[in-house]
Structures are given as C-alpha cells and as structure tokens.
Point group: C3
Chain length 317, copies 3
C-alpha cells in the first residue's frame, strides 16, 4: 500500500489509493467487531506511538473518533479540547510555532482549526505527519473518506449511483470534500437540493464538469428522494441567512427528512448525515434500515485506524 | 457475582448485591495498596477496553476517580471535561445522539449531566453500559455506594447505627441516593439536621417509612452529634435561599463542625462529607481519626474499580 | 543518583545534583531519538504509574511536555487543562483539599497555579510527589532546569560564559528561576537588558552578589548581542506598562531579535526563548543554527523524563 505522509485534502487520493484504504479499513473494522473474546491482533500495532490532538475549536465527535482509533491500535494520546482558549494562542503564538512544539513531543498531530489552509501550513513546518480534522471553510478529508467508504460499503459501490445532497451546500466543508472525492468515481448524477442562499459553489461545479460528472440543481426534495440512491443531508445554519430570517424558516421547514419522505425513497437507498443533526432528520427515521448515519459515524473510527496504521507505517496485519 | 449492566440509581442494589460489591471493592483496594513493589495482579484486567468520560458539567474529582479506576485496571480513557461547552450540544445535538456516537467508540460510558433522568435516557439508547456520575437533582449512585461502603468499612456495619445528615438535605442528590441505600439495611435511626429551606423531602421520608427505618428531624446539631455514629455533612448553597440571605447566614453559621463539636461526639463515630467542603468542617478537625472524609474520597476509586470490573465482566481475580 | 521527593524551586539543586540530572537527561534523549526501530528500553519503565496534571491556568506546552514524558516512560495520565474553571475550585474548595484528593488517586502530581507558593503548599499536604509547573510570579523550576541543560548541551558548559537576559526580567518567573540556577555555576557575567519598568529585581541581584556572580544592567541590546554567548529572550507583556503605553511601544520596538542583530552575534553563541514568542524574535532568525529555542523546547520532554524517572525511583536503565 502506498505510504501517506500528511492527510490534508480529499484530492490527495486517486481511485486505487481509495480502494487500498477501504480494504484496510475493513480489516480494521473486523479487528474491532470480532475482538471479543480477545482476538485483538492489532491491539499493539502502534504501541509506543503518541498522537497530539490539537483542537482549536471543540468537536468531541471528531476528537473521540481519532483518539479511539489511536488507542484501539495501542497508541496513546495528548489532548487539548479547546486550544484557542487554553493555549499559547491566547498569548499570540502562531500556529506554526505551536505545531513545531507539538511535533517535538508527538509522532502524529491531529489538527482542527478555524482557518482555511491551517492544515497545509501546519504540515509545512511539522516534523511529524499532520491529519486535517477540519480547517474552517476548507476541508475535512477524513470525513469525506468515511463518507465514500460508507456509500461503497452500504451499496456495494459508487459508480452508477445517484447521490443527492440536501441542506447547506455552500458552507459545509463536509459536502465540499465529499464532492471532490466522488469526482474520482463514475456516479450517474449528483443532485444538489438547496435554497439559493446555501447553494453549491461554482468551484465544485466546475470541478465536476472537468471530471464529466453530471450534476443538477433542484428545489424539490421529494423529487430527489424518489430517485436517489444516497440522500446526504446536512444541517442548515440559521446564521448563514443573516436578516433573511423568514427565508430561513421557510427553507428549514421544507427540507426535513421524515417518515413521509422516507416512504418515497427506493428500498435499497440510504440516508447519510455527518452529524450532529438538529431537526433535519426526525428521530422516527432512525429505526429504518435505510438510516445509515449512525453506521457512517461508526465507520469514522475504522477509516482513521486505517489512516494511522498507514501513516505510522506499521507492518502488523 | 451477579452481572450489572448499567449503573443508574442506588435502588438497583439489594443487600446481598451490595455485600458482593463491597467484597470485590476490598479486593480492589488491596491490589492498589499493596501494589508496590509490583504485586499488580489486576493491572491488565481491562486491557483493550475503552471508557468515554462525558462530563456535561465539570467535576474533576468524580472524573478523576472514574478514570483512575479504569486506568488502574489496564483500561484507557477518552475524556471531555466540559461537554456542554465543547461538544455538539452547543450545535443542538440531543443527548441521545451524543450517546449513540460515544457508544460506537467506547466500551463503557461515564455520564455526568445537569438534567435529572439523563442517565436513564442514555442507557436506553446506548450500545454499551452507562454509569451515572450524577444527573442534576437526580442521583449519584456511585457516590452513595462508596458512602455505604465507607460506613461499613469504618464501623463494621450499617445495622444498629445512628446516622445523622447535616446541611442541604433537599437538593443534595448525594444525600438522597444514600438514603435510598440505607433503606436496604437496619440502621437504628436516621437524623435529619437541616434548616426548613433545605429540609429532607417527603418522597425520601415516605420511602423510609415503607422500609420501617425510623427517622427524626431536629434543629440541634449538638444533640445529633452526641448520639450519632455517623455525621454525614453536606455543603449548604447560598443560592438555595434566594433573597432570604439573613436566614442563610444564620443557618450557615449554626451548622459548622469544629473542634468543640467534635469533643461531643462518641469515640467510635465518624464524620463524612462528599466533598468539596467549604467552611462547614473546619480544617482543625482533619487530623482527628474520626474525620473519615478523605478516606471516603479514596474509597471512590476502589468502588469504581469494582463496578467497572463487574460491568466489563472480566474474570481476572 | 540522589533521590528527589518534590520539585518545588530551582534552589533545590546543587551543582553535582544538576550534573547527575543532566546525565540522566541525555540517556532519556537517546532512548527517544534512537527509538526507531524499537530500541525502547525505557518504554515500560513507569508502567502502572499514574500522573495527575492539575493546570489551574492553561499551558498546553508545559502540560504536553510533562504528559509526553510520563507516557514515553510507560506511565499514564489524568488531565485537567483548566482546573480553575472546571473543578471544585469554583465551588470554593481549597488547593489543599484538591491536592489531598488527587494524591489519593495518582502517584505524582504536576501542578500549575496562579499563586506564588502554591506548589509548596501542595507538597505540604500531598501523599505523593508534587512537580511545580509554574506558580504565579514564583518559580518554574523544570523550565530553569531545561534552560541550564540546553546551555550546557549547546555550548559545552556554563562556566566562563556571558549570558544576556533580554525582555521582561521583573515578572518572568522563568528568568528568575534560571538566575537562581546559574548561581551554582561560574559564568563570566550576566547581562540584564531591560526597560526600567521590567528590570531585574533586587532579590536576584543580591543573590548573585552573595554567590560572586558578576552582573551588569545595560540598555543597549546590540552591545549585549556582540559579547554574549547566550541571548535569553523573553516576551514583554503590554499590561506591565499600565497606562505608559508609549513607553511600552518604544521599548518593545527596541528589543527585537532580527537578522541584523544576529549578524552582530558571535559564531558560537545561541539564542534562547522559553516560548511562546510573539514578535520579539523574527521568524527569519529561525533557520540560523544559533536559534536554539526549538531545541530548548524539545529538551523539556527529556528533562521531565529524567525527573519522573528519578522521583518514581525506577531502576530500569
């Protein structure tokens, strides 16, 4: 398997690289799922290795997922859950100096930051590998990797599928990173269901055009639900709408996934969501087998185990 | 030993269950106390197991105690010390969704929450065991377990003892959980020493009546101190008194455990406190052998080791 | 090697003690630097030992450095990154009670606190060793130890060197602890380059006089740079100047280490800084071999490994 140095953006991977990564991800999942009683062949894989979690904005889900992945492989963790408030940042230290410090103590750094481009800046000065756990409006590549893995795992492949995105397509870095990765495959079509305020941006559309991936914008969620194999839902943030509150309320109420909408969906389809959700998927949907979002979240741990395993280059499987 | 799934409320235990638990707690204590040099037969017991500490309100003491217990048995920990501020909660995620997430990464969840009933709600959706580390005005069962263990350990039993509660008996979940557990035994009498604003509530009194445990309310701390085998002291919070400030000041000054009061107590009695204390026990009392509150705090680690050992069902002693 | 109980202040060490410690520090550094592949003879040294990090004010650098040291030796960590906000302190608990609690769970306590003398108060009640990781305007002894180690390591010794301090010499506990330690050696001279508002205090000057260490105050950074073997730079905090803002701005601009100043320095000299830096050393200086501050920071981990190794008294090298 080819060696990864840093995990900065979804575009790093080509299709064979993704397939290798997914295959290792399945190995990791099996090692956890079947670990009782005691079949823990990976439990000492990264023994003696140390990860530094540097979260400049809090995200318990993403942090826990990376830390669990490290610990499940035998590694250990230094953790700060709110670096902006708690660290030298408040004294005016640059990100670069903080990274130089952390990289002299740890063997790998997981970085969550508010500014786009922070992960690349960190990688430029770090003595150890850097994993981008979200950088502002930029990317969240490990989320995109687990999303693509989930589609492949749930539906048996990405090619020839119709994938509909619903919600905030303008500001959600999750959706942006995922669109980049889908460009490596041959989906039938991408559907973008969004209010004009939060519509998918031109750079992604141009990228898809260059890769000959058909896409279509539509306003009607029901139409998308009826033909999609994947309904990828994201949270719409009120603050994006500024003082257009009534528009927010109108759009928010229109894009809700509930039992009624579920009834329109194909039998073999899935609903995904990067979580946390608020009201955009009703809890009544949770028990339907097509509700894949909790399985998707769980896959986060396995994909991050595979990445750490690759990055720290251990030959123990 | 019968298997525990979740630790939600003190009422879960019956007397034989408590006695089993206390016996395991003593085994755990011995394994720590005599661990130098290297008699660490339990040090690898929970190897490969992962605990998630989800503290929605900070409590360093309770968190450290659970985490130390896990680590002393060879397990590892994911930790958030202020989930309310740092997690998806601030984005509107429900407790249920957060628990689903955590339970897909960890093998056991320790939950501290501001809302009564939070632990039961968590247990209902979690894929792994949940330990209630305090839920609002609800319960704090592991505190009650360590309290009962401490009385038994210090005095040789609960039966035929007089146990006096002093301080805030209305809002203190510690006192409430403990009263439930004492109902499983045959204490001679419970004494409640409290100002009318923070008096023991009717539900506990009715519970004790149903279990034929005599109780009595009194105003005079000295009277209680003279006859009690256990003086269980809690902190009175000013905010409970609203604008009745002068009453607060009056009552606060009246219920102080100092050398003078200590002199009235029986030779074989003990003073307990769930900690933190502020001024309700003067530091002059600390060095008296009857001051049991630091030993009580230390017991917290051993009772939690016993619980984790039971819950994760390891046969390594 | 003589056994250390608590690490409270720089004055604890005499010169032979420092030399023993530095020799163990080099052993620790080698064990980390050459640990790939797998020459990890110290990796299990402190297995079964637990450290509690109690940081009453946040300091990610210092916390990570201690925790990494503990983990690299096989130990584990309980951590709180903002104890003041998150712990029982906010409920009015004394430092002494918190330390009693932590010392019943952990085998060693690392304490960072805002009040001078906090570490000594902690040591007085703790059942386990306490390491002072900075107590207000008091001391930061492990920083001073790593500073002296760095000078010795980079220049081959402290004796017969000229060591210039630049920046905030009045309030920086780093500089104060370091001056105490240098009094154990025979430097040619100490130079103090500081504005009158942040000048070195009389107590240090008297201490140096008693130890026959020559010192001189000067205003001219260039003069100091030309003759110094070590230029120890610290951050000047605006708030020290109160409403004398224009003076702050004038002095801040005058004491900047940049390429021009570097050109005046001796070939064999080094620039040190306890970090974080803000603008007082320009990034252009970083790539010069005389810029020792990142190597200095890295040494923090090794000196703390040596201290933990000594304190917990393990014979595994």
């Amino acid at each position: 398997m080819r060696k990864i140095r840093h995990v900065i953006e979804a575009q790093q991977w080509d299709r064979p690289g993704l397939e290798e990564l997914f295959s290792l991800t399945r190995v990791m999942r099996d090692s956890i799922k079947h670990r009782y009683p005691k079949s823990r062949q990976h439990a000492h894989c990264l023994e003696g290795y140390l990860m530094a979690s540097l979260f400049y904005e809090p995200s318990t889900r993403t942090r826990f997922s990376h830390e669990a992945a490290m610990i499940r492989l035998g590694g250990r963790v230094l953790s700060t859950e709110n670096a902006e408030q708690f660290s030298s940042v408040s004294k005016g230290e640059t990100l670069e100096d903080t990274i130089r410090m952390a990289s002299s103590y740890a063997d790998v750094i997981v970085l969550r930051h508010k500014e786009q481009g922070a992960a690349a800046r960190a990688a430029a000065v770090s003595r150890v590998p850097v994993i981008n756990a979200g950088d502002g409006a930029g990317q969240h590549p490990t989320q995109a990797l687990l999303d693509v893995f989930t589609i492949e795992d749930e539906l048996g492949g990405i090619d020839d599928r119709i994938i509909a995105f619903v919600g905030d397509l303008a500001y959600g870095r999750t959706v942006r990173s995922l669109a980049y990765l889908l460009g490596k495959f041959r989906p039938t079509k991408l559907l973008f269901v969004a209010h004009e305020v939060v519509r998918m941006r031109p750079d992604i559309k141009e990228y898809l055009d260059r890769h000959n991936i058909p896409w279509e914008e539509l306003d009607n969620l029901e139409l998308a639900a009826r033909c999609a194999d994947v309904l990828y839902v994201t949270r719409i943030q009120k603050e994006r709408f500024g003082d257009r509150i009534s528009e927010y309320e109108e759009v928010f109420g229109r894009y809700i996934i509930n039992a009624e909408l579920l009834a329109m969906m194909k039998e073999k389809s899935i609903i995904m969501h990067p979580l946390p959700r608020v009201n955009e998927i009703t809890t009544g949907v949770d028990s339907d087998p097509r509700a894949a979002y909790f399985r998707q979240a769980e896959n986060g741990q396995y994909i991050r185990m595979a990445l750490l395993h690759n990055i720290l280059n251990q030959d123990c499987h």
